[in-house]
């Protein structure tokens, strides 16, 4: 027993003396190295629940179309496509001679054919496979809705006199995804969907080799050697919770644009470690916190830090119209109070937590993001009347306006002696988040629930102090925390009054957001048409719902956007949501040249490394600014977007 520890200790001691052997690997410009905080839980690209997994899928699998560096949809595995005169049938011609490769990069016997796209869609359309995003396209692809629910009904025992096999066989007959020949795949839609190409970059439209997935069954995508690859890279190594290595696929149709031959991603959850590794030359890029930026002030690195571009995600302040807190329920139904909140939140102060230098650079004042939805004339949706004004208005913070609206709300909601009309003393039980007593008197008590992270906690404390000061002690914010997931722990069990939240923007149409905000089952409990809000509070706004329904039925983009813009304008005027901050926009330092890779707010192609240029030295902030200016000039020419 004594020998083992002595032996191991001696080994470690001996290794400690080999200091010269350590050190970072020499970095070349055809290798990209970075860290990731969240593990790729699984490699099955139809499941991918996390950003790291999406990054792997985007680079190792190809789709019919992809985004170019301007965000335009351009051919990928499809060489060309045609749209039927009624706009309902989309036919894609595939490139010939494209083969799946394995995890060693060797060409397999399997060619990428139209059947692979049908097989992929067949896989995601079976509820048993639990593919999350199928809901997004269920009402888009012809016959899919019935096919999907027939299978569910059968599994539920509701549908009898048939077999599961028979129902599965209906796919070929009824679902609008067909292989017309070896190299032609056709999608038939239920309604005219001018933005259909943006759907095609979603994970549910990946191809799969049927023989391979049949052979592996449940093991498909659980290791690097249990996948085949059709993208610009193959996964040469994947060590769970450790590292991901992607190597250039020499058989890829566009191999000449795969500029980084190796992509090496290492797991590290600490931003301080990430920055140190970058400074030691172990990484090609790193993101920094505001504190870290201040920490490197005065060093050679400071002028190399720049703010990355904003994303399509919008964070907003989101009130709960179905709250169990009677004081808040009374106030939030009052438009003057909502407006008081809308104008009473100091964006600059709160955004300074993320960017103390230029906080308003992160601000977004519209629900739908700019530069993502363009009509048939290339006009941005956020330039439509009704939304344009909100975009141009800038910071809505206006203390005088906020106090004025609050005074009006008090006049309407209280008896003048501090008693809130119709609200009795009670215990608000939102355990385990919070439990407190309300007395039906001013100050109004409202629950703001936030995550346990330090940034989120600081924001919550600032918000609390802001409300206290703005409304002169008449609004008291009770803070509560969730541990892991805001939806499961807070929104779903209805344990909040105010939340800071967001929704992913799935496809290039405002309905991607409005559909979920106003839908009947009220995912956000927003009062526009939330079933929960209606049930609990007897309150909703039919005018907006009608506008959104009309817009959703409109097939000419410019007319469609006009109606959506009217709806969004009303949502903002009536302060149902308070848009606050855009996603993205983080301090970055790196050798990677921005605007050289695919761009776009939807699907997975925005994660592609294709075309990435890496330099020997970190780019300066001034250089990135020049590149950005040039990019937007080029973009205007490329897409004809009116800015």
């Amino acid at each position: 027993m004594k020998r083992i520890p002595i032996g191991l200790s001696a080994l470690i001691l001996a290794l400690a003396l080999l200091t010269a052997c350590g050190g970072s690997e020499a970095k070349t410009i055809d290798k990209y190295s970075a860290t990731y905080a969240e593990e790729a839980k699984v490699l099955n690209y139809f499941l991918i629940p996390d950003v790291t997994g999406q990054r792997v899928a985007a680079n190792t699998q190809d789709q019919l179309v992809e985004n170019d560096r301007f965000g335009r949809f351009v051919p990928a595995l499809a060489e060309s496509w045609t749209i039927s005169p009624d706009n309902l049938v989309w036919t894609f011609k595939l490139r010939q001679g494209q083969y799946w490769v394995d995890h060693t990069g060797a060409k397999t016997q399997y060619e990428v054919t139209a059947d692979d796209f049908v097989a992929g869609f067949r896989y995601v359309s079976d509820p048993k496979n639990g593919i999350r995003n199928v809901r997004t396209v269920r009402s888009v692809i012809k016959g899919l809705y019935d096919y999907y629910y027939n299978l569910i009904d059968f599994d539920d025992g509701v549908l009898e006199n048939t077999t599961r096999e028979q129902l599965l066989a209906d796919f070929d007959k009824n679902v609008g995804v067909k292989a017309l020949d070896k190299y032609t795949v056709q999608y038939t839609l239920d309604q005219i969907t001018p933005f259909f190409l943006s759907y095609l970059t979603m994970d549910v439209f990946f191809p799969v080799e049927k023989a391979f997935i049949d052979q592996l069954g449940q093991d498909f995508g659980t290791a690097a050697d249990r996948l085949l690859y059709s993208g610009g890279y193959y996964l040469s190594s994947w060590q769970r919770d450790k590292e991901i290595v992607m190597t250039k696929n020499e058989h890829y149709w566009d191999a000449e644009n795969i500029t980084a031959k190796t992509v090496h991603l290492q797991k590290s959850s600490d931003s301080a470690v990430e920055l140190q590794m970058f400074m030691r030359g172990e990484l090609s890029s790193a993101t920094l916190t505001a504190d870290q930026v201040q920490g490197i002030t005065g060093t050679a690195y400071r002028d190399k830090v720049y703010m990355s571009d904003l994303s399509s995600v919008t964070f907003w302040w989101h009130p709960n119209f179905a709250s169990d807190n009677p004081e808040f329920a009374a106030f939030i139904r009052n438009e003057n109070f909502r407006k008081a909140m809308f104008y009473g939140i100091d964006h600059v102060k709160l955004l300074s937590l993320d960017d103390p230098v230029n906080p308003l650079g992160l601000m977004r004042t519209t629900i739908i993001p700019e530069e993502n939805c363009f009509d048939e004339n290339g006009k941005d949706y956020t330039d439509y009347p009704g939304v344009r004004e909100w975009k141009q208005a800038g910071n809505p913070y206006d203390p005088a306006k906020a106090r004025d609206y609050f005074a009006k709300a008090l006049a309407e909601l209280t008896d003048g002696n501090g008693n809130i009309n119709g609200v009795q003393e009670t215990i608000v039980n939102q355990k385990p988040v919070v439990e407190f007593k309300v007395d039906g008197k001013l100050p109004l008590q409202m629950v703001y629930v936030h995550s346990a992270g330090s940034r989120s906690t600081t924001q919550a404390l600032l918000f609390q102090a802001m409300m206290q000061e703005m409304f002169q002690g008449q609004v008291e914010v009770v803070l509560g925390q969730f541990v892991d997931d805001d939806y499961d722990e807070v929104i779903l069990p209805n344990r909040y009054d105010m939340m800071y939240s967001s929704l992913r923007f799935s496809y290039a149409d405002p309905l991607a957001q409005f559909g979920r905000i106003v839908e009947d089952d009220g995912l956000l409990n927003v009062a526009v048409d939330s079933a929960a809000a209606r049930e609990r509070q007897g309150f909703y706004d039919p005018e907006i719902k009608v506008l959104i329904d009309q817009a959703a039925a409109e097939t000419v983009l410019s007319k469609r956007y006009e109606l959506f813009a009217k709806a969004e304008n009303l949502m903002l005027q009536r302060a149902y949501l308070i848009p606050f901050r855009a996603g993205g926009g983080s301090y970055t330092i790196g050798n990677v040249v921005p605007y050289t890779m695919p761009r776009g707010g939807f699907g997975v192609t925005r994660f592609k490394y294709k075309g990435m240029q890496i330099e020997n030295e970190p780019l300066t902030e001034a250089r990135v600014r020049q590149l950005r200016e040039q990019f937007y000039k080029d973009l205007e020419v490329a897409v004809g977007a009116k800015k």
Binding site: T19, V42, L47, D241, R280, R516
Partner: protein, 335 residues
Amino acid sequence: MLYQRLLLPLILFSGARMKAYIVKRFFESLLTVFFVVVAVFMLLRFMPTDGYFDRDDYTEMSEAARNAYLRTLGLTDNPLVQLGRFVVNLAQGDWGRSITVYPRTSISEILLEKIPYSLSFGLSAISISIVLGLLMGILMAQYKDGIVDGVGTAYVVLVRAIPSLIYLFLIQIWVTKLLGWPMLFNERNPVSWILPAISLALPNIAWYAIWLRRFMVDEENKDYIKFAVSKGVPRRTIMFKHVLRNAAVPLVQYLPSQILLTVGGSLIIESIYSIPGLGGLLVYAIRQQDNPLVQALVLIFSVLGIFGVFMGDVLMVLVDPRIKLGKAAKSGGHA
């Protein structure tokens, strides 16, 4: 396997009372494992099913689709049926598949990937801490109230008083910078193995040192040592043949548990050095409500913990001559 390798020789080469004690404690341990597993299994089934989905699932999947998904996981069956299925599958070596942490991946595959990392670092750290900790404890006891004792005590106080994240992080940043080592563990680069192993050993070195010092100082004050001193037995002989031998006995009891539980890994060390071990996996699996993974990990940890205690007790009986089975029990003593 455990029975064949460890228990059988113990039973074969021990006396009748010892045999009876080992068999009795073994079955008590098995019973404890059984209750732990059943309790955890049933408690997990009483959790709301929301935990099987993340937020995107809820926003993207309909109620019917969510139900269909739960059905495919077998979660809509009676909990007792699920327990029966778990036991039958386990008997066939099938640990099931992860649901939310590593969706659809075989749990045995996950464990086989991760355990070797945690085990290697854990055993290295224990080896280092036994060697250095015992050495430090002996020196501290031998030179009690001297400089060595002072330095050793200062080390113990620092390691135990300062939050470990602070000094571990400083070690990672500064030592790697000073020596030009990689910051993260890389199994292809042996130099990167050193700091995690040493960092993992630091608290245990302090633990072994302070307890051994304490037991040795206690022993030194006992009559039989005073008698040996008065007889003129050399101090070195007294320290190593009598004091150390007796002082080490209480530490022996914890050794099996410590060795076995290294399988569990270290949340902090594995996280900061990016070691793909088991550290933190149980907590994460509980938070993600990955029932099959939680069950597997609880089963492994409870078996290791319970048998660690069992082995510790048996070792104590074997190495401590003061413990007499049977006779001592009658006088209300040990065993």
